[in-house]
Symmetry: C2
Subunit: 249 residues, 2 copies
């Protein structure tokens, strides 16, 4: 019956500043529900003690989170939690953006950021079962829920079969509706591969994140019920706002 200490400490000389690490911790504990909405954060001196750093270092972390709109500081009173728990984004055989977040948000939609026609790269070609270099349509989209960006995705489609899907997407704001125009009434998720990394500059801009944030990355292939690949996609989710819930595939 050996014990095991829950590490509450912080890494120095890591290339990640202490204030950023502390901001991550606070964000994490809010996300898992340690603080109710509008609850007060412990005083700066208490946090400084907990993490073994100077009060000013804690203040840097807090001011970053105030900047992000996660916390609100009031002189003389305390610092308070604004944001709620993470959204839980379901992933399964029939993953659809709009239906997935029902009940968690009052409003959600997809914005088409950009589209282009390009030759298929190695991985896109493999995913779609096409020859490398075949023309494909790429759609760059952003998912928003209650006005906040919750995903950023690039989707690739066979350009010959789905010519004009960019227009359909712009008009309908829905992948499912756009595919329906091409006679696809149902589709399934064949495979999903998951990883995580630091957000790059494009992620930061499109997802309205602060530098140093983490994104979850899924790479997926959607197929028709008879197994024909129709869409290859790479989606990025801000880890501080979204968790992925894997349902029966």
């Amino acid at each position: 019956m050996t014990g095991r200490q829950e590490a509450d400490s912080i890494e120095r000389r890591s290339g990640v500043s202490l204030w950023r690490q502390i901001a991550d911790r606070i964000l994490q504990s809010i996300a898992i529900g340690d603080f109710a909405e509008n609850a007060a954060l412990p005083p700066e001196m208490a946090l400084a003690g907990r993490y073994g750093v100077n009060r000013h270092t804690v203040r840097s972390a807090i001011s970053a989170l105030v900047q992000e709109g996660v916390l609100r500081a009031e002189q003389g009173r305390g610092t308070f939690v604004l944001s709620r728990k993470r959204l839980s984004y379901p992933i399964g055989a029939r993953t659809r953006f709009s239906t997935g977040l029902q009940g968690q948000t009052s409003e959600r939609h997809i914005v088409l950021l950009a589209s282009s026609v390009e030759p298929a790269s190695q991985r896109v070609a493999e995913g779609l079962g096409l020859a490398r270099g075949t023309e494909v349509i790429r759609l760059e989209t952003r998912g928003e829920a209650d006005g906040r960006p919750v995903s950023r995705a690039a989707g690739w489609f066979d350009a010959r079969r789905f010519a004009g899907i960019d227009k359909a997407m712009a008009e309908t704001g829905s992948v499912t509706a756009s595919l329906a125009r091409f006679g696809i009434d149902d589709y399934l998720r064949q495979s999903t591969v998951l990883s995580a990394r630091h957000a790059d500059a494009a992620d930061l801009a499109d997802l309205d994140l602060q530098p140093g944030a983490i994104v979850l990355v899924t790479v997926a292939v959607n197929v028709t019920p008879d197994g024909q690949p129709i869409q290859f996609s790479e989606s990025r989710f801000p880890a501080e706002r979204v968790e992925l819930k894997l349902s029966a595939l």
Copy 2:
């Protein structure tokens, strides 16, 4: 047909140092297979140009990766890639550690780090369908493949039903084999929730990571075929070494 620039730049004043961000990028591109094993990295000056930083900053990133055993630098010749692509860890209805990595590694096993009996916390109790405070056994384990840590997990079991599972685990090194001693021949994964964050001090130590690394976190419940919860678990995977492949049932 609007274009969209692939951002290759780096964020300043983010709380994450430039050398750490560059090291992450290099790690990422190795992981997705941009470089073959033993391939040469671009020269330091080229990388400095690409990321818009000084050569010395690139050198800091490289020396961190040399320290981690990912790269090997040779004076006069270049810098070379040692490590291979990420392991792909399958997650599905019948997720098992040992069978999951077959074919990708020559050797794999689980080490029992610690065990304890404790009252169930809110989320553990919910997951296992027990009253809060019921005694549960916690097993802390580490998964290793080819001598490298690839996962770190905490598993909780009803202490009354699975008394002695810690000993079974220590002897067999397998959850599946340990459960078999209690008459459980088959079990399924009922739910999995996925998130990502920076590694904390315990993660760094147990997974042999450098500070600033990212971990993928899964929280899962395993059930018997008739739906009875038997195990609640939280696993952490080093994002630089592992990706999660969601497979169908």
